[in-house]
């Protein structure tokens, strides 16, 4: 049992001050903007909840939110099963283990705008490897700057390329923590491959997979740089995800009120879904 000790607050004070400076002050600025109208010159007028109504009823927001949920849904539905499958097929020991771990983690350490630029170069219709292969070898017309469907496929594949390894590494860490005796017992019982997966491997991976899903949800829901560099939100608005739209409104059009209201709604949605995951996670902790 942990000791009850109120002096522990002293230990957390530096963190509190630092994060409060970074989180509370900017958040208050956002709240401030979200209820006021400004015409520049630091003149502000009370606006109440008008901006929130405007954002919540605007078709533009609904569409961006819809695109965002579709994107995050596709990411989770592809990356989680794929990552688990790759982790199951990975060797458990020997020379290839560090090789796999290092090469698989590499995409995650590349700056996000470089990821976008890299995929841009990779998919150029006539001189990119993928673009050339699709257009000239397979004869499938592929140009993500013209075709919304191609743009969508590209940003999803780019994210699969970028982040599936996170799921692989987590699932793999869960798998190697299973003692060999479990597998031997399963063999004696004559358990099928599916039964081993369902009753031994999956339960052991439950905690790490929850963390993987939580991280993948938060990061794909907040994604900005990679699709922005790759497609700029286009063609048209077809790949304008929530963050891209928000930056357009805030820094492009300088509509501070609506942008601030949208920020708060956006943050609230992320928070709500993440809280659900967090509750699930701590429920697991309490049981074990």
């Amino acid at each position: 049992m942990k000791k009850l000790n109120q002096r522990a607050w002293l230990f957390v004070t530096p963190v509190l001050l630092l994060v409060a400076f970074n989180a509370l002050i900017p958040m208050m600025t956002v709240v401030n903007y979200s209820v006021q109208e400004t015409f520049g010159d630091n003149l502000f007028f009370w606006q109440g909840i008008d901006w929130f109504e405007q954002v919540l009823t605007s078709e533009r927001f609904h569409k961006a939110l819809g695109r965002q949920f579709l994107f995050t849904f596709l990411i989770l539905i592809i990356e989680v099963p794929l990552g688990v499958a790759i982790a199951l097929a990975m060797p458990r020991q020997g020379f290839w283990v560090p090789f796999c771990l290092v090469t698989m983690a590499l995409p995650m350490l590349i700056p996000w705008n470089v990821v976008g630029a890299m995929w841009n170069i990779f998919t150029l219709p006539d001189i990119g490897l993928l673009g050339y292969f699709m257009n000239h070898t397979l004869g499938i017309p592929y140009d993500m700057t013209q075709n919304p469907f191609a743009a969508w496929v590209t940003i999803v594949i780019m994210d699969v390329w970028h982040w599936t390894s996170l799921v692989v590494l987590l699932a793999y860490a869960g798998l190697v923590s299973i003692p060999n005796a479990y597998y031997q017992a399963a063999e004696i019982d004559g358990a099928s491959g599916w039964a081993v997966f369902r009753f031994i491997q999956l339960p052991k991976m439950k905690t790490v997979l929850t963390i993987a899903i939580l991280l993948r949800f938060m990061d794909s829901f907040n994604i900005y740089t990679e699709p922005f560099v790759l497609t700029g939100g286009g063609p048209g608005n077809s790949t304008t995800l929530l963050s891209i739209d928000l930056v357009k409104i805030a820094l492009g059009q300088f509509d501070l009120g609506p942008a601030a209201a949208m920020s708060l709604i956006y943050f609230a949605i992320t928070l709500l879904v993440s809280w659900l995951f967090y509750t699930l996670m701590t429920m697991n902790d309490n049981k074990s």
């Binding site: 600025t29 771990l101 995409p107 993928l130 590494l169 905690t207 790490v208």
Partner: protein
């Protein structure tokens, strides 16, 4: 069995293809790139790299990035250490709420904070300094460092602390000479993750800098749009940004997964 090892092999091939293309592009001349498709560079050139390594606006981008990333890593780990110890060893009023509140900062979309950060750091006179970016990145790196360190610290038996007190160690001396050495892996992993997320982030770094502390990522985007798309140069700059990550990842390869699981595997 053969079929099984094919899965990771194919996956790694898929991961390497875009990276290969970036590296191949960086060794090509501009003429060759524009002339059409070629799988390998026909005439190898180092011109793109020479230009980056001799032009101050380019190589200062790298130096700036490394300065604020290092500052951020040091600050994040230093403030996170005592906090993580408190969370792992004590219960106190509001500890669970505080822990969750820290996590919420990891969830906040960076796009939400871009403009208020710009105003805040301008107001305190830190705009366009390395420390501004380092502090701003603490927003998501400090909570992460606390989480990871807390996970590793909870793996150390409490008897260690109690024995040390019985032996008459003061708290600071115990913490530095006994406790820290027993969680060096955790400190390494926390530092690695702070390095990583500070290194890959662009939106805040770009918003908070103009000239003096401009990160390499921002130099790249401005070049891409202004210089009429010099692909070879862009590819070379991109290739150089991969190298620091590739180096540090080798040192923590056995702990990466534990770090991503926030020390909870």
């Amino acid at each position: 069995m053969r079929l099984k090892s094919l899965v990771p092999a194919l996956y790694i091939l898929f991961l390497m293809l875009p990276i290969y293309w970036l590296v191949a592009m960086s060794f090509k001349t501009t003429n060759e790139i524009l002339a059409g498709f070629s799988l390998f560079p026909q005439t190898w050139t180092l011109a793109n790299y020479t230009e980056i390594l001799t032009d101050p606006t380019w190589y200062w981008g790298y130096i700036n990035s490394i300065i604020y990333v290092t500052l951020n890593t040091v600050i994040s780990v230093l403030v996170a250490l005592p906090a993580a110890y408190a969370f792992s060893r004590y219960t106190f009023v509001g500890d669970k709420h505080l822990f969750f509140w820290l996590l919420t900062n990891r969830m906040a979309p960076a796009a939400v904070f871009a403009l208020p950060f710009f105003q805040l750091y301008s107001a305190v006179g830190l705009f366009d300094t390395h420390i501004a970016v380092a502090l701003a990145h603490c927003l998501f790196n400090v909570p992460l460092a606390v989480w990871i360190l807390e996970g590793f610290m909870s793996g150390v038996p409490k008897e260690l602390d109690e024995t040390a007190y019985v032996d008459g160690y003061s708290f600071p001396r115990f913490f530095v000479t006994i406790f820290l050495p027993s969680i060096t892996a955790g400190v390494g992993v926390a530092a690695f993750f702070c390095f990583m997320f500070s290194w890959v982030e662009l939106l805040l770094a770009k918003t908070l800098t103009a000239v003096a502390a401009k990160p390499i990522a921002a130099v790249m985007t401005r070049t891409a749009s202004s210089a009429g798309y010099e692909l070879g140069l862009l590819a070379a700059a991109g290739t150089l940004t991969i190298i620091p990550g590739a180096i540090v990842i080798y040192f923590v390869r056995n702990y990466i997964a534990k770090g991503f699981a926030l020390g909870r595997v």
